[in-house]
Point group: C2
Chain length 110, copies 2
DNA sequence: CAGGCATATGCTCTACTGTGTATATATGCG
DNA sequence: CGCATATATACACAGTAGAGCATATGCCTG
């Protein structure tokens, strides 16, 4: 279970991260929102913590977890070489529109 | 093995996709470049194909594989809600630098 | 300090996935 | 046609990860 990719391969963990994306939460909140056994939440949080995806703050008896972005960033970086496959047309379109916008309004052929 | 995330959790498969990112390749090319047993390459390609990450074209005795972007796009989309975590400061920094650059050069305190 | 809530950990079991090895299928070529 | 090359598939095996259950630890309140 080393790679960041393996960590987010697990649906429950993605769900947890998804929750934390909007705001930090205690274990109990996650448990209730995701209807997932507490022991399971704790275990997944442990994995996420050890892999650097989250960190926790102690607040009385609760532990409040929040996102740590680095590993996700790594995934994002890995995707970079592939983005051209779906941004290509968009980029071309944007360049086209830029040209249109900057072109002296001389009247179009066609 | 349903989710796109599970598919790219496998290092060999990420390597194959990485290779195909730059250009399409035959099975043999992948085998040689990655120094990976042919049978292993074929199996991973099968998984990738069935999950929609690649498609193959028959060229005489060879099969040439190329990227199909959709599943990777899905991964990219999942990352969206997290991007603010690492673009936030950059944005703030950029805005700051913009302000600095535009500000009349009045001299600094400290 | 006792009891209760919040969270973490240990253990067992099962299922799955990647690997290696052997083999099948297909195509081109002499 | 027969062989070599290119690729795919079948099978058995080992490692591992997630689920469930029981239980431990820590902190708070009366």
């Amino acid at each position: 279970m080393e790679s960041s990719f393996a960590i987010i391969a697990e649906p429950s963990r993605r769900a947890i991260l998804g929750l934390l994306a909007s705001s930090e939460r205690s274990v109990g909140e996650i448990e209730r929102r995701l209807r997932m056994p507490q022991t399971s939440v704790s275990k997944h949080l442990r994995v996420l913590r050890e892999a650097g995806f989250v960190e926790s703050r102690v607040e009385a008896q609760r532990r409040v977890y929040r996102i740590r972005p680095e590993p996700l960033r790594e995934v994002d970086a890995w995707l970079a070489p592939f983005r051209r496959f779906w941004t290509a047309h968009v980029d071309a379109l944007e360049r086209h529109l830029d040209r249109m916008a900057q072109a002296p309004r001389k009247g179009r052929s066609r």
